[in-house]
Subunit: 379 residues, 2 copies
């Protein structure tokens, strides 16, 4: 099968690397001529996402299209969907692009979230704050990522400046939950039968769920994921799977969905979702029986899903802005290096390291060695 | 680092797929415009191995060159070695291309082999047969692979026809050893320090050895490898490692070396060697901490070697001439599919399946399911 990928960043690159062994071939679409997936995919189309002629050319001869970036314009996906099946479905993409729509979907599906409200004016902001209370977080509804487009409101004095900063866009106010930790679940849904346009799908589907992962963010960017997350009960895992399954059933989903969660008072609150392979699932390349990338492609191509059982314990560390020397990283016990072939730039995700070991204690020892290498590199 | 690969078959393809995550980039040289590595490596040179202008162009900007096919002309490697470091060294390649030279090297290093003799005439053949006895195998010294260029001599009546068939080339006669089974060892040697031309190498080196693998051939082609080979004592593993280390030290080796062995009366006889990644090491992609492909690149690029410990039990089945349906293969528990993107042709290696499971009994159950799928495909 011939698979098109919208977006040529590291997620597209890792999708292609996971798909080649399955006999899949790829074509990548990205506005940037130096998109890093192009280093491993000879067939690339460089054009803007609204270039319909280029999209037509891109779709020619493809069996299915997927995307690796959640800010691909929904119009692009809808346009392509008339030419070739595109998964995950445009509706899931659209819901995920607006934090208020996304949280409303969670609420509508009976999934717990932090309290939230849409904010269109300073007056609405003040009203919502009376209901939700302080501290709270004011966010743009669209386009924010890696901590951008957010302001924490700790006291009444923060309200004016935050509004100054963000008030030009539609906003959402979210209550600040004193959660215990951040978790995420990577889930896969694969409708049975051939890959057909969504209207023709029957409703039976297979599911696969990876074990819950514990994530540590700093400066709004994911730094470390531990998989499986330590100390997760069967009940908590089941709660996470139920959350993901509700969203996927509601959107008649095909592919990998990531849901970021807060653990709070023994239960889960849904924070946001990403209708694509996800940074907190990179550990699965070495750490699970089948990686998230392969399972996404299996789902999208109508192949049976692979097992998601973990192989020992894993931890993933992002390499952001700078990359330690390869020979030093590779000398750390259990370390597996993944570089994305991107030019270094502050705050840019350039690669990751996954440590896979037999025991949790060994993981922590390797992690601290990698942390030291990253510190040294920063000088 | 920028790595050149001579040969663009499945081994080159899998080398590139293993090297991309390390941040390596690749250029492939192959006489065939449709070499399957070209599907995953955008930068390919299509030219004959004796095209010096093309070899110069190929070498431009590369940090190191390796090869994936043991019949690359030694002159090609020597020519390139004057432009860029090439590993494994030309001497190991040269030795491996002539069965008599290869077996003489084994003998000279104190490594046991089946009895053998060079044969240049019918008279020499008859003389050698008196020493070696029947049954025996007559082989061309050069160019044979996958069972081609061989004749088994069971009785005196076979001698004339075998000579008729093969007598035009320099030959080797080998005694037929009633060995218990065929094993192989994948070994890696990495001289310390930077990647430099071989003359400048100091002699200290790191080694890594994979567990012995049990191989089943049919029609001269490898069908199945089981890793680790069942029932291997520590002594037998040490014997295999010693054999590989002797060859690698003698040739001041850098990279992966495969040695095919016969287990006979509790000890090992060396049958042949391949100065490259090897079909009997494909299981290591899923079945070992670090794959043979990654470790070959780590050695060739002067990076520290990765651990070779097995992850559970694995078995690899070659897909030859025809490929079962992907969805059926992927539904087999523990199965990992590897297709090479090659056009089907009788006897051609088109892909392999590795089954990785926790227990040996589970391996055998999955293997028999795959065998059934292969049978069905053949009709």
């Amino acid at each position: 099968m011939r698979v098109g990928i919208l977006g040529g960043g590291q997620l597209g690159r890792m999708l292609a690397l996971a798909g080649y062994p399955l006999g899949l071939s790829f074509r990548v679409f990205d506005p940037a001529p130096d998109a890093c997936a192009g280093q491993v995919v000879p067939d690339c189309v460089t054009a803007a996402f609204d270039d319909e002629a280029a999209l037509r050319r891109f779709s020619d001869g493809l069996d299915v299209v997927t995307y690796e970036w959640e800010n691909v314009p929904v119009e692009t996906v809808r346009f392509l969907s008339r030419l070739v099946p595109v998964y995950p479905p445009a509706e899931a993409l659209e819901d995920s692009q607006d934090r208020f729509v996304e949280k409303s979907l969670f609420r509508q599906l009976g999934i717990a979230t932090a309290p939230f409200a849409a904010v269109g004016s300073l007056e609405e902001l003040r009203q919502s704050l009376r209901l939700i209370g302080l501290p709270a977080v004011l966010k743009t509804r669209r386009g924010g990522y890696d901590g951008k487009g957010q302001q924490v409101l700790r006291s009444a004095a923060d309200v004016g400046p935050a509004w100054q900063e963000l008030g030009g866009s539609p906003l959402i106010l979210e209550g600040f939950v004193p959660f215990r930790r951040e978790l995420s679940i990577i889930a896969v849904r694969a409708p049975r039968g051939a890959v057909v346009p969504r209207q023709q799908l029957d409703e039976s589907a297979d599911f696969a769920f990876y074990p819950l992962v514990e994530n540590v963010h700093r400066g709004g960017i994911l730094r470390t994921s531990r998989a499986p997350a330590p100390g997760v009960s069967e009940e908590l895992q089941a709660e996470a799977e139920d959350i993901a399954a509700r969203v996927m059933d509601a959107t008649r989903y095909r592919g990998v969905l990531a849901v970021e969660l807060f653990e709070h008072e023994g239960h889960l609150l849904a924070n946001e979702m990403a209708p694509r392979v996800h940074n907190s699932g990179h550990w699965s390349i070495e750490g699970a029986e089948t990686s998230q990338f392969e399972n996404h492609l299996r789902a999208v191509c109508g192949l049976p899903l692979g097992a998601t059982a973990p192989l020992g314990h894993s931890a993933m560390v992002n390499l952001i802005g700078a990359v330690p020397k390869s020979d030093e990283v590779l000398a750390v016990p259990g370390a597996h290096l993944h570089l994305y072939g991107k030019e270094p730039r502050p705050g840019r995700k350039l690669g990751h390291v996954t440590v896979r070991r037999g025991a949790v204690s060994a993981i922590e020892s390797s992690l601290s060695q990698i942390a030291r290498l990253i510190e040294n590199e920063r000088g």
